[in-house]
């Protein structure tokens, strides 16, 4: 320390500090690296403490019987065995994958179709696009409540009122074990549509128009252009949206919870997704260990599904 101070004084800079000597001692490249890492350290530290530590903690908890009150005791795989024997888990598992397998393709095809045609519309283009985007900006809970009222039986449900005007029989919607899941899925698709349309349109705009011109000169039809040019060139966008939307459906919670608060995930568990089961196990029954095991299973599913999609839709070289 003393040596550094002397050095600073000798070089004649008042208030010579360790930084100057630090700067003198290291190369430009090293200094830049130190700067970069000192900026990166903050988010990394943040992520490590806020994200990764709890994640590892959850893995550990899934092997315990922690109930918040008593100290956690390791119980091996008991939570997982219980989970795989639990009929409710399999029902919830099936529901979650129904949301995923039916919801993702429908939402993507709809979003693409709308984006494809909206791209050609010039009349009130921005206004229409804003209309589609609006639901994405609205709070999920608020939308869920509006839809919940839409779906009510007469005399208050708007959809059923329209049905009765048209002479269509009344539908129970969220009061039915067969229709409830799809009724909720529709609202989730509708809510995410705006975002997907915007991304698809950005993808469509990014395709150089020269390709289309060349194709038209060669006499390709619209269908062939779509199949041979638009879709293949849109692949990065599609991959992103497939992964994004799948994760969204696997984690669906807000819509279901808010549309079924007086019988969460009901009727008869027919709409309950995995996340809602985790929530109830953890914060209604306080079975934290069991809930952690469910979380680990969800984590694994998300990981597998994401990797699988990236692999299937990978760029073939």
């Amino acid at each position: 320390m003393a040596a550094i101070e002397q050095q600073g004084a000798a070089s004649g800079r008042p208030g010579g500090s360790p930084e100057t000597s630090f700067g003198d001692r290291f190369s430009m490249r090293t200094r830049r690296l130190v700067w970069v890492w000192s900026f990166l350290a903050l988010p990394i530290l943040f992520y490590a403490i806020i994200r990764f530590y709890p994640t590892f903690q959850a893995f550990y908890l899934s092997f315990t019987n922690w109930d918040l009150l008593r100290p956690a005791k390791l119980i091996g795989f008991a939570n997982y065995i219980k989970l795989f024997k639990d009929p409710q888990f399999w029902k919830v598992f099936k529901n979650t994958f129904t949301y995923l397998i039916i919801g993702t393709p429908i939402s993507l095809v709809t979003a693409f179709t709308i984006a494809f045609f909206l791209d050609r519309v010039r009349f009130m283009h921005n206004f229409i696009r804003a209309l589609y985007f609006l639901p994405f900006l609205t709070t999920a809970a608020a939308m869920a409540w509006v839809w919940r009222w839409f779906y009510q039986p007469p005399p208050i449900g708007v959809i059923n009122d329209v049905f009765s005007m048209l002479g269509i029989p009344q539908q129970p919607f969220i009061r039915s074990t067969d229709q409830a899941l799809f009724s909720i899925m529709v609202t989730a698709i509708w809510a995410g549509l705006g975002f997907q349309i915007i991304i698809f349109m950005a993808g469509l705009r990014a395709i150089p128009s020269t390709f289309y011109e060349a194709a038209r000169i060669d006499g390709l039809g619209e269908w062939a252009i779509l199949r041979k040019i638009t879709l293949p060139l849109l692949k990065p966008t599609t991959v992103f949206l497939v992964v994004f939307s799948s994760i969204g459906f696997l984690r669906i919670f807000d819509q279901v919870y808010n549309m079924t608060t007086n019988d969460p995930g009901g009727p008869l568990g027919s709409t309950k997704p995995l996340v809602l089961m985790i929530y109830q196990t953890a914060f209604n029954s306080y079975a934290m260990g069991y809930a952690a095991a469910q979380t680990v299973v969800l984590f694994t599913i998300l990981l597998i599904v994401s990797l699988l999609q990236l692999w299937i839709l990978r760029e073939k070289k």
């Binding site: 009222w149 039986p153 007469p154 009061r175 039915s176 074990t177 009901g266 568990g269």
Partner: protein
């Protein structure tokens, strides 16, 4: 001489200071956020501090959804409340976790508790110890819409007294449009509301059974009485068609909207129904069965002393608990929150018994039962599912009861500490 006086003064000054220091105790009281409850507690604390100058009480509140987790987490961190409010159904969990101290017998003798409070206070007893006392209690009653009664040709001052009269009145009130859709319910059917309590503690008993045995640890409704009770309940929608589950989303919403003739609900709904402007409503006791058997479900939030309160804080907590469970405090609570006093002497006053709204609830308290839930949410869900299997999937009542009883037994066993 002057020095001596000064010294004496100093000594005196120090001793009063020391005396004050010994007396100045701060204790924390925790409850969940509900506007009128917080206001009532503020008022009680002011009164208490006036009477006990050495003690300050700090009220700490949390949103209801977080409350239990907060209490438990604070206990783990070692800085919980001294006196806390808890739902009676959480007691097993709180006792097992060592959150609560048994009430000291010198300040709260058992004989006095049992003679002065309504019998449902027993739900706060585990083994030989009481772990808390309520300020106020809640019970159920039948709310009815006087306007719809008059329109249906019924006497609005003579609400149904028996289950048969209840069904008959509801059938007269229920209205349907040309295509058969319900437009006005005779009575609401909402298992997710209070109907599961009605079925569990009232209907099963009226059909001659009991919902549980062994301190509510053994499910006993897979019986003839249980089947009859569920048949009666589901027939209200399926055969007698007095209402439909899910009509206007929730039973209380249908009643509030003037689209339901009757609904079964608790004292805690009084506040919400008081703002109804479109029609007059009344309250009556839950209907009796043909033999005149009545029952009711009562519940309450109790106040307990934390296991960590020691020494002066414990003494102060005892005084505070004694005050908030006194008749004077209950009177303030009734006026501010609208919940019924938990002490017989404070509840069954002439004014209260003459009150057309409080009286039916108070009568219900005399014969009310309190389910000792192990996992309230899961047990409620189980009852909802039981009814839905019959209403939506056409399962037979017998099978649904059997399935529900097995599932609930599993829930209870899993939640046992």
């Amino acid at each position: 001489m002057r020095k001596a006086t000064l010294f004496a003064g100093l000594v005196a000054g120090f001793s009063t200071f020391a005396f004050n220091a010994a007396q100045a105790v701060e204790i924390e009281y925790w409850q969940y956020v509900f506007d009128t409850r917080v206001k009532a507690m503020d008022q009680l604390i002011t009164e208490f501090q006036k009477a006990n100058p050495g003690i300050t009480v700090k009220q700490v509140t949390f949103p209801y959804a977080d409350y239990q987790t907060r209490v438990i987490a604070a206990n783990m961190a070692g800085n919980g409340p001294d006196v806390m409010q808890l739902f009676y159904g959480w007691l097993d969990k709180f006792v097992a976790g060592g959150l609560l101290a048994p009430l000291p017998k010198d300040a709260f003798p058992h004989a006095k508790i049992e003679s002065d409070f309504f019998p449902i206070v027993k739900a706060m007893k585990r083994g030989d110890e009481y772990y808390g006392l309520p300020t106020a209690v809640r019970s159920l009653a039948l709310f009815y819409n006087k306007k719809l009664f008059t329109e249906a040709g019924l006497d609005p001052n003579n609400p149904p007294k028996t289950l048969d009269e209840y069904v008959a009145a509801a059938q007269k009130i229920a209205k349907r449009d040309a295509s058969g859709n319900l437009t006005v319910e005779g009575s609401t059917l909402d298992m997710g509301g209070q109907d599961h309590q009605w079925w569990r503690e009232v209907l099963i008993r009226q059909f001659g059974g009991v919902p549980y045995t062994d301190n509510d640890q053994k499910v006993a409704y897979n019986s003839e009485a249980g089947i009859k009770a569920l048949k009666f309940y589901t027939s209200l929608q399926l055969e007698k068609k007095i209402g439909a589950a899910g009509f206007m989303d929730e039973g209380q919403a249908a009643f509030r909207g003037g689209k339901a003739g009757m609904t079964i609900d608790g004292t805690f709904r009084l506040g919400a129904f008081k703002s109804i402007k479109d029609f007059e409503w009344g309250v009556t006791e839950l209907p009796a069965n043909a033999q005149g058997v009545r029952s009711n479900y009562a519940s309450y939030f109790a106040n307990g002393i934390s296991a960590k309160a020691k020494g002066e804080e414990l003494e102060a907590s005892k005084k505070f608990l004694a005050y908030i469970t006194s008749p004077a405090a209950m009177d303030i609570w009734l006026k501010t929150v609208g919940e019924l006093p938990a002490l017989r002497s404070a509840a069954l006053t002439e004014t209260n018994l003459k009150d057309p709204i409080y009286a039916p609830f108070l009568k219900g308290l005399e014969y009310a039962h309190t389910t000792l839930f192990m996992d309230e949410q899961a047990q409620r869900q189980n009852a909802i599912d039981m009814a839905n299997r019959v209403l939506l999937q056409g399962q037979s009542v017998e099978d649904s009861i059997k399935q529900a009883a097995a599932a609930e037994q599993e829930i209870i066993d899993a939640a046992k500490p």
